[in-house]
């Protein structure tokens, strides 16, 4: 893993920054250089959230091309498609949150089609569904973290993700532990 650009996106309140922070701490714990850039304040209140996470020999706090795009929500993933090229892997939660205005009618299926067409690989994960089944939709970010920890891209730092999660305050909540563990075993939905 010489240099890796990861973009984490979602809706304020979904735990986008938490997910990115745990991932960056794991990379750091495994001895990799990390640089993470987030925005706070007004942008947090239910709006679009975007975190840049860079690993390896990097300097600039942001980038234009993502190697990996982690989406906690489909529409936000679509919104950030300018970061996607045919070298990008997209891992996205199968969840669609309509913004306040109801004008938008593009379906889940249509978004997934566009994402699939543009990316090198698209992996759609039923993280919301699993989190709801476990009792708390708020643990969907931990399902995603679990899934990512078992991803072949992160084979070398898998144990660090595991360590960082279990050391964090988030592992004190039962639903989160279940979400993380069962997230590891999730299989992407095939389209």
């Amino acid at each position: 893993m010489n240099k890796l650009n990861i973009l984490v996106v979602g809706v304020g309140g979904q735990g986008v920054v938490t997910l990115a922070r745990l991932l960056s701490e794991a990379c750091y714990e495994c001895g990799l250089n990390v640089l993470m850039s987030e925005t706070r304040g007004l942008s947090q209140r239910g709006g679009s959230v975007k975190v840049f996470l860079r690993i390896g020999r990097v300097y600039a706090p942001t980038f234009n091309n993502a190697d990996l795009l982690i989406g906690l929500e489909l529409l936000e993933t679509l919104r950030n498609i300018s970061y996607v090229s045919d070298k990008t892997v997209i891992v996205v939660n199968n969840k669609l949150l309509s913004p306040g205005n109801m004008a938008y009618t593009t379906s889940r299926k249509k978004i997934i089609e566009i994402l699939k067409l543009r990316a090198k690989k698209l992996e759609v994960i039923n993280a919301e569904e699993l989190a709801l089944k476990l009792g708390n939709v708020k643990s969907e970010n931990m399902v995603m973290l679990g899934y990512i920890s078992s991803h072949s891209m992160f084979e070398r730092i898998r144990h660090c993700i595991e360590n960082v999660f279990y050391k964090s305050k988030y592992s004190k909540i039962r639903e989160n532990v279940k979400a993380f563990e069962q997230g590891k075993k999730l299989k992407p939905i095939l389209y």
Binding site: L35, S43, R45, G46, A60, R79, I81, P99
Partner: protein
């Protein structure tokens, strides 16, 4: 233990603002103050956590001017001090800033200005490095998180050497970036000082100030010279014909862009850590061979402006590029810097073009479910409709500014902190409409009080609604003078200054306090207040009091549900009240989203058909 107190040589993953805090501790800071503001708040937040343990004094001040003056006073008494604020905060503190350069300091004094290019959480994106040129105060800019720590420590020494204040300019992408930092040694803080009486130095009356100004310009020349040996300014390949001069975070973009273009060896790279003033002799030496110079900096062309001046003075014929190739607004981006560099290198830039963004609807930030401002705005709109009056809403800065969006649209103008009442002082005398100023509690303490005094003594007929949620919510729940948390590290309990005491003390005769969760009562009070203003032509204040739902969440309460048979699809709850926890079903009936609902139960009140109910759980409550 706080990670800020780990021993020397520790490697720690830190936020830029935490790194600045650690740097201050390594310099032995004894006094730190701030008014919260994104992206600066975490500096004081982190110092506050370790203050008692280290025996240093840290406070949240009522506004940036007072924060500045407090820290400055400590510094002239010999206590190393730091004051932090967001860029626009320095406007509030600009009065003491300008003259502090005349008076100078004794111990090191650092003003941290956290600028917000691209305005993620701000009303403008002013570049505060201009203040350095304006005030004769040096500005230093770190390029990454490690340097943020190192530089903070070093410039305390610099400030102390010249007995002069210095500005540390950060930006969002530094303050809110996390990176690996290697620690230096903590220095024992000194928190007690001595004031040495010396009127010709500390009293800025015209007679003394004329002399102080002469000393100031001479000091400025010495500072320019000294910066030529400032060791965070660095350079590579000075002999090249093409040079890149980059300051602050701009350096991080520039060096990566050069690596992407594989041009590190071909280009003279000059890293400016001291962007105001530019060390004249040093920079001339570094770009003496250059025919083309690209300046990479975030914000305005502050370095470019100074560099062009110096080159013109010295008759150096190099072409300087900067804001003609790089954006004049927003943030720098790697692809844009690569493109600009490729242009002056006459190279093809192999930029992978990202996909065009399809039409995706905006997702605006919104008031949280359970936020007390939503029922307040809802009641306000009803009261205005019932009163049949035309209104101009003079808004202010905080979470409640989100009222500008659908469905409430209650801010007709927002300018700066405290301007809701300030502007209303003008509107009220020239408009036929009723003028309503809407201001948050922390904002009122910060800059609303003088404006309200002005309204009282000039009899401006304004309805001021103070939204009191007991905290400075938007920046992360810092205390204000009306909060139940102490403002400084010295005290365990707050000494409150209640809003109603202030408002009554100012001389407002009609002051109402209402709980915005009680929508009916809030409507009634707003109607009554408007009548009083019409009759008596003087200001009236309503304090809408209810804690922020994130600051003090409601203890487990029953969440309401919609009775499907009673709901008649009127849409009041999801269109007009517009709580994010109420969704419109395909049938146009309403449903409560249990994952988002916090159980405030205000929607039970606003449904005209009583179709939203709080279910009893099989027992009497």
């Amino acid at each position: 233990m706080s990670k800020l107190l780990l021993p020397e040589k520790s490697r720690v993953l830190l936020l830029g603002n935490e790194a600045i805090a650690r740097g201050a501790l390594e310099a032995g800071v004894g006094f730190a103050s701030a008014y919260p503001g994104t992206p600066s708040s975490e500096i004081i937040e982190e110092l506050m956590k370790v203050a008692a343990k280290l025996g240093i004094y840290v406070e949240w001040s009522v506004n940036e001017k007072v924060a500045f003056e407090a820290a400055y006073a400590a510094a002239i008494c010999g206590v190393r001090s730091l004051v932090a604020m967001k860029h626009v905060g320095l406007n509030v503190a600009s009065d003491p800033l300008m003259t502090s350069a005349y008076l100078g300091t004794k111990a090191g004094f650092i003003i941290v200005s956290a600028d917000d290019p691209n305005m993620y959480s701000s009303q403008n994106e002013q570049d505060n490095r201009w203040y350095g040129l304006h005030a004769y105060i040096p500005v230093f800019e770190p390029s990454n998180v490690q340097e943020a720590k190192d530089m903070t420590k070093i410039i305390f020494d610099f400030s102390e050497k010249f007995e002069h204040p210095v500005i540390l300019r950060s930006v969002t992408r530094l303050s809110h970036a996390s990176g690996v930092v290697i620690y230096g040694k903590l220095r024992k803080p000194n928190n007690k000082g001595v004031f040495v009486r010396n009127p010709s130095r500390w009293v800025a009356i015209p007679e003394y100030s004329r002399e102080l100004k002469k000393l100031l310009v001479r000091k400025w020349d010495r500072i320019v010279d000294e910066l030529s040996s400032f060791n965070l300014n660095k350079s590579w390949n000075e002999r090249s014909e093409i040079a890149v001069v980059a300051s602050g975070i701009g350096f991080s973009y520039a060096i990566e862009a050069l690596e992407i273009l594989k041009a590190r060896e071909k280009v003279a790279l000059v890293k400016l850590a001291s962007s105001v003033p530019i060390p004249r002799k040093w920079i001339l030496n570094k770009v003496s061979n250059a025919r083309k110079i690209l300046v990479v900096e975030e914000g305005d062309g502050v370095v470019e402006f100074q560099l062009k001046n110096i080159l013109q003075d010295e008759k150096v014929e190099a072409r300087v590029y900067g804001k003609n190739l790089l954006p004049r607004y927003g943030e720098l981006q790697l692809s844009i810097v690569v493109k600009a560099l490729a242009k002056i290198l006459n190279k093809e830039a192999h930029i992978v073009h990202g996909n065009l963004v399809p039409q995706v609807p905006r997702r605006n930030p919104t008031l949280c479910p359970g936020c007390p401002y939503r029922p307040l705005y809802y009641a306000l709109k009803i009261a205005i409709r019932k009163s049949k009056v035309k209104v101009v809403y003079s808004g202010d800065i905080g979470c409640y500014t989100l009222g500008v969006y659908e469905p409430f649209k209650v801010h007709d103008i927002v300018l700066d902190m405290g301007s809701s009442i300030g502007l209303a002082n003008g509107f009220a005398h020239v408009l036929e409409e009723k003028v309503i100023a809407i201001i948050g509690d922390s904002t009122f303490y910060h800059a609303g009080i003088p404006a309200l005094i002005n309204a009282v003594c000039n009899r401006a007929p304004i309805l001021t609604i103070i939204l009191d949620n007991e905290t400075t919510a938007m920046t992360g729940f810092q205390p204000h003078p009306g909060s139940d948390k102490p403002m400084s590290s010295k005290h365990a309990y707050p000494r409150k200054v209640p809003l109603e005491n202030v408002v009554k003390g100012i001389g407002v005769d009609y002051v109402y306090i209402v709980d915005p969760y009680d929508v009916g009562e809030t409507v009634r009070i707003i109607e009554e207040a408007l009548k009083i203003i019409s009759k008596r032509k003087e200001p009236v204040v309503i304090i809408a009091r209810r804690p922020c739902i994130l600051y003090k969440p409601i203890a487990a309460r029953t969440k309401p549900a919609v009775l499907d048979v009673k709901c008649n699809r009127c849409g009041i709850c999801y269109n007009m009240f517009a709580c994010p926890a109420i969704t419109k079903l395909p049938s146009s009936k309403a449903r409560i989203r249990e994952d988002l609902c916090v159980g405030c139960n205000v929607c039970v009140d606003i449904c005209p058909l009583n179709a939203i109910i709080t279910p009893l759980e099989g027992k009497w409550q």
